[in-house]
Each structure stands twice: as C-alpha cells, then as structure tokens.
Symmetry: C2
Subunit: 243 residues, 2 copies
C-alpha cells in the first residue's frame, strides 16, 4: 500500500507527452523553417506525405495548443514552446541514429528509418544514456548537428556541393539522411562527412559535376550534389566531427 504510493510518475515539468504525429509535424515545420522561419502548408504536407487538407486541420489544433503561430492562408511558425518540442524530438532522432551506428554497427543507410520510429518511444533519459555511451557526439552519422539537452543547436548554414566554386578544397560536413539508396551510393563514392573534396568542373544546364575525392575523380548530377553540404577547409576542422 505505502509502496504503491511512491509510484509518482514524475512528469518532466511542462511536457504534455506529444503524440507521434504531432512530433513529426513539429520536426517538419522546424526543418522547413530552419528553426525560425515560416512553413507553408503544402510544404509540410509534402514532407510528411499527407494531403494538404490534413495539414490545415492539424495545424489549427497545434496552434490551439500553443505550439505554433498560425494565420489562415499564411503558413505557420513555431512558438518557443513548439521549437523546444521540435528540438527535443530532433535530438532524440539524431542521438538514436548515432547510437545505432556507433554502438550497434547499424549501416548508415538504415539508421534513419529505425530512428524515425524510436524517436517517439524513447524517453529523454534513455537518449541521454545513449549519448553518454557513445561519447556525446556533436553530429549524427550524416553530419546533422545534435541539439543539446537544453535546446541549443548549431544552426550554421553550409554550402551545398551544387553551388560550390571550382578548384577550392572543401570538407563534406553533412549529407541528406532520408534516402537509403542515395546514402549507399554516396558511401561507395566516399562522399561522406569528413572527406576533403574539390569541385573540378561543372557542366551547364543540369550537367554533371566533376569532383576529386581523395585520389579519385568522380561525376555526379546536380540533384545529388544539392544533398551534400560542405564547409571551408580550415586548420582546426577535420575528420568528420565539428565543434
């Protein structure tokens, strides 16, 4: 009897335990708005593979809950509370990805899908333990920055391979994480975070981009190149970890 009394389910302060779909909306809105900007209904719908009408409905409910600011016909913006929730989910997702890759040997093209489900089920507690177990990495396996426990995140904008100047050495810092086939292809080409590359040539009208990766020379299309982000090569930055 007195033992049962002790079962207090300590809720982490404000958190009302968002549903999986809600977390997905917030994540999408955050990613579209890059943290601070606005997101259009259609863009949210496309990213979540939902009908725009569904987004209209959900968005109104989320606004009622104070998670986002919404003006009819004019897109949405996360509130501070919505932003915090989005970053919490993003942290979960990326820590889980990193953990799966580093601790369980998951191939980097499969971590995203698994994390997509686990991020809604794992507690913050568990995620923190995972982070500690792999040495609190700053980025996930695709180079995306991992938000800290209290919502700080590196929002540096990087230049994609598609818009790079020719002849300047760069460091690959991040690649898009959603398409497994693309990730396998990039890994084959050694275009992975931490690699030094130089754009050698770019053909006009959507033509191929030629680049040097290590001692190899490869050609990729602009659609793929747009999914590879790069940073300047500096003395201190190297090896696939930023910080």
């Amino acid at each position: 009897m007195s033992a049962a009394r002790e079962h207090v389910t300590t809720k982490p302060a404000s958190a009302e335990a968002l549903t999986a779909p809600v977390e997905d909306y917030l994540k999408a809105i955050y990613t579209i708005g890059k943290g601070t900007g606005a997101a259009a209904t259609n863009e949210i719908a496309q990213r979540l593979a939902l009908a725009p009408a569904s987004v209209s409905g959900m968005v109104r409910r989320l606004a009622d809950q104070g998670l986002l600011a919404y003006e009819r016909y004019h897109g949405v913006k996360l509130t501070e509370s919505g932003r915090r929730a989005a970053l919490r989910t993003l942290r979960r997702h990326r820590v889980i990805e990193a953990y799966l890759a580093q601790a369980l040997g998951y191939p980097w093209d499969r971590v995203h899908e698994e994390a997509e489900r686990l991020e809604h089920a794992a507690s913050d507690q568990l995620v923190d333990r995972m982070a500690v177990a792999i040495g609190e990495p700053k980025v996930d396996p695709h180079g995306a920055p991992i938000p800290t426990h209290d919502g700080a995140v590196d929002e540096t904008e990087y230049t994609s391979l598609a818009e790079l100047a020719i002849g300047v050495p760069r460091l690959v810092v991040r690649v898009a994480d959603e398409d497994p086939a693309m990730l396998r292809y990039l890994a084959e080409l050694s275009v992975v975070p931490g690699k030094r590359i130089i754009v050698k040539a770019r053909e006009p009208y959507g033509g191929p981009i030629t680049l040097a990766v290590g001692r190899q020379e490869i050609s990729i299309g602009p659609a793929l190149a747009a999914h590879v982000l790069t940073a300047p090569v500096t003395g201190k930055a190297s090896g696939g970890r930023r910080g």
Copy 2:
C-alpha cells in the same frame, strides 16, 4: 496524382504490422492464458486498464483478423498466428529490457516501462542486434524467459515463494517486473534471480513468511511472495541464468 500512387509501403511479407494496442492485447492474452489457455474479457480489461466493453470490441476485430478464436460469452484463445505475434512482441520486450540493463546500465526497476514503449517501435532487426550485443541471454533482468527468433520459449512453471515448503533450499528464478517500487524493495532484500533462499517459517492467515537470503533473515507478506518464483537447487542450475 501519379506521385501519390507510388506510395507502396513495402510490407515485410506476411506481417501486417500490428498496431501498438493490438500488440498489447496479444501480449496480455498470451500471459493470462500462459500460452495455450483461454483468457476472460474482464481479466484482459484489468491487465490493460481498459473498460470491459472496449475489450469486447477489440477482441471481435482481432478474431476477424485471425489472431484469436473467440466465442461470445466464453473468452478468447490465441490462434497459432496470434501466438506467434504475441511471442514476437514478448521477445522484443524482454530483449530490450535485458539490453537496457546490461548495455546501458539501466536500473532494473525502470527497464519495464521503457521497454513497454520501445517494443512497439523497434524492428526485429534491431532487437536481434541488441540480443547479439549482450550475448543472447536466455532471460530478461527479472528472470522472464526470452522467446527465440522463431517463437520457441521456455514455458516451465515455477513455484512461487508463497507456496513453498519450509526448510527446502530454492533458487529465485524470476520476479514480477511491473511495479518499480516492488522491484527496488526486492533488490534491497537481495531477493533477485540467481539468489539461494530457504523458507524458514510461514504464519497462517496471510501472516508473514520468514526466509533466509544469504546470511540474512527477512520477513515478507504473502502478496509479495506470490510475485517471486523459485526453482529447485540443482548441481547445474546456478547464478541467475537458466538454460
């Protein structure tokens, strides 16, 4: 239009991807029926903390899906397919519990709650990797047997501490996993899987049971004792692992 058509959701062969509530029902029915017996509506309702009416409804749908055999007013029994699904979930749950405890240092009173959510999100792939990472244990941290990948499980029935003969040395093999406070209390008393115990005395009318654990002598109530399962002490069995 044509883009929407492409949304093919490649289902993994037979598995229709059960929802979390469905998996919970199957698990509950399996546990109540000990694998083969029947489960009463009210018992399912109580275990899942739902209204009996809700169970009636769900049970009919599960019967339609071929997961269980159902005769109105006479309880339900898992079909072979239902049993397989239940064991798949049970395996997930217990491997996750074991992994959390062994690989991430989770305290044994918290693994159950976390696993309760993760079991619905983790892929079989991930669960297998976790199992390998901790050496394919046969039991979870509370001593519950872990079903194998192909649905085999140790269904040995053990004698609870409440119904034990006096003076006979026994081995604790399993404790109930759901109540964190109870688990902390048991750990305090060193009543954990693998421990040798002897019942020294039992008072009638629900009175305390006195037992020797190591060099200590302790007294517990029959309600608690019923949640501790024991096996005979043999030469080969020892140390908290069965098999």
